[in-house]
Amino acid sequence: MKKVFERPKSLTDVPFSYCPGCTHGIAHRLVAEVIDELGIQERTIGIAPVGCSVLCYDFFDVDMQEAAHGRAPAVATGIKRVHPDSIVFSYQGDGDLASIGTAEIVHAANRGEKITVIFINNAIYGMTGGQMAPTTLPGQKTTTSPYGRDTEACGYPIRISEMLSTLDGPAYIARASLHDPQNIVKAKSAIRKAFQAQVDGLGFSLVELLSTCPTNWGMTPVESLKWLEDNMIPRYPLGEYKVIEGVK
């Protein structure tokens, strides 16, 4: 018999540090598979964020830099400018990218920086124990919105893919979800397009992945998938938001 599904080469052997059922792990696997399939492992440089995925430098078997909270796009810019032939990707959470790192992501996108951003939207700050993120849903209870997110005081959840798609720099922007196998397949194809866009030198690319945080949502992993589907997708419609000519 032949292995038709196996651990991608671009993952190290180190077990993920994520909580049971956390879909960060799925996102990791997809990114690694795409790197394998595009044959770019030896020229890829990744950037770990500050967030639950801070340790992803231990998981991706490529050169990695750990960036300050929110600054991964700036770090990626520094790297890409030095090694324009390398493939540079950042992996960032929603606190990291949509909150503290807003300026950096907007400007990397606007510059059309030739990097790929994997954006994990789990509607919460996982790492620090479940505080409200800019992506937290209206009414959602978190440790810093104990009475539920009050849109009057904190506004509505921010839609990063939509916002960045108004800029000229991005070549490819899509939102996908990790809540079931079909969607995981679609997520992978979006990730692949994003990396391919970089390989082809087309511009900035970003894939927003709806992801779960069973620990801080206070649900089982299985319940979390359902919650994601029922609550996040209506607010964060899936699909491709920007696809410039040449993206394949």
Partner: protein
């Protein structure tokens, strides 16, 4: 080479960086150092390098982090408020053991302050304005020529010790023109950057640039390793200028622009019959504490002159360690002490 050309300090700084092999500059405008990025934006593309105006100082320093981690000689430049914004990034660079050069053309503070020359960022530069136990090598030129000469050192030291090096100037040094010569530097042996993230390129093992150590024991060990390096630097890399110290009764300690003015003051004091010398720290960290301690055995008193309300004076006191009185004279917020004021201070001390 060898020929003298007339150049503005800020531009000379840029040219010296390019001559030192710097090909990447990430910065954000702020007075009074705009001529540095402006110069780089003109020159770097011609040298096959990259000038990029970042969206902010925070982004700039993190671009520097990325580029340094990728193995490049890279520089950023700013002035006081902008440098404050870089504090987290600088701490990360120090923590991740990355070499880079950071220029601070200091202006009056705190807050928005003013744009005239000052030296009130001494503490921030030398004690670590960012969090954690870290140090930067801090070089304080006092002429355009020295700015040029130290730039080569700055990159070499950064690479040698894998740490950020700061050039601390002030608006006056940045804005003034003086003749400079770009001397041929003899290259020093530098360790290969085999830790840089270049893509694995068949290397087999990953390179990781990182400052996270979740296990306290490891974090401490990392800190102790840094500390060891810092001790080494304190032993090997102190630079200073001694001027007129042979039979001085009063030793003035001053750096940068202030030290130039001290020299003028010393001549005037001499003409009034006072014996005054100058010890000018060129490295603010490591601080030339031994030479000051040694001087304490000979002089009657020290006078520290700064364009601040008193920062380096603490390091002077630490060096003198109670052996002799240490006086302080400071102007701040963009005011520059005049030779006359300095002479008057010396008179007070000796009188």
């Amino acid at each position: 080479m060898g020929e003298k050309i007339l150049m503005k300090g800020a531009e000379a700084l840029g040219e010296a960086a390019i001559k030192a092999g710097c090909r990447f500059f990430f910065g954000y405008p702020i007075t009074p150092q705009n001529e540095v990025p402006e110069y780089m934006s003109k020159r770097l593309p011609k040298e096959g390098g990259v000038f990029l105006q970042a969206e902010s100082e925070v982004a700039a320093i993190n671009m520097v982090y990325g580029a340094a981690g990728a193995g490049a000689r890279v520089m950023t430049s700013s002035s006081s408020p902008g440098i404050s914004l870089k504090m987290e990034g600088i701490s990360y660079i120090a923590g991740a053991k990355l070499p880079c050069v950071i220029v601070n053309i200091v202006r009056g503070g705190p807050g928005l302050g003013g744009i005239q020359p000052a030296q009130s960022d001494y503490f921030q530069a030398t004690k670590g304005g960012g969090h954690g136990d870290y140090r930067m090598i801090v070089l304080a030129p006092s002429s355009v020529q020295e700015m040029v000469d130290l730039m080569g050192d700055a990159f070499d030291l950064a690479d040698l010790y894998r740490m950020p090096t700061m050039i601390l100037g002030d608006g006056m040094l940045g804005q003034m023109m003086e003749p400079v010569e770009f001397k041929e530097r003899k290259p020093i042996a530098l360790p290969p950057k085999d830790w840089a993230t270049t893509g694995k390129k068949g290397r087999g093992k990953q390179n990781i640039i990182n400052s996270l150590f979740l296990i306290a024991e490891e974090c401490e060990e990392h800190n102790f390793e840094l500390k060891k390096r810092y001790n080494e630097i304190e032993k090997n890399e102190v630079k200073f200028e001694s001027y007129n110290m042979e039979d001085a009764d009063v030793a003035i300690i001053a750096y940068g622009t202030t030290a130039r003015i001290v020299k003028t003051a010393i001549k005037r004091a001499e003409s009034k019959g006072m014996k005054v010398g100058l010890i000018r720290p060129i490295t603010l960290w490591p601080f030339p504490e031994k030479v000051i301690a040694a001087a304490a055995e000979k002089v009657k008193a020290f006078l520290t002159v700064e364009m601040s309300t008193g920062q380096m004076v603490e390091d002077v006191r630490l060096a003198v360690n109670g052996q002799k009185p240490v006086y302080f004279y400071g102007r701040t917020g963009g005011m520059v002490p005049s030779p006359e004021e300095m002479v008057a201070e010396v008179e007070k001390i000796l009188g």
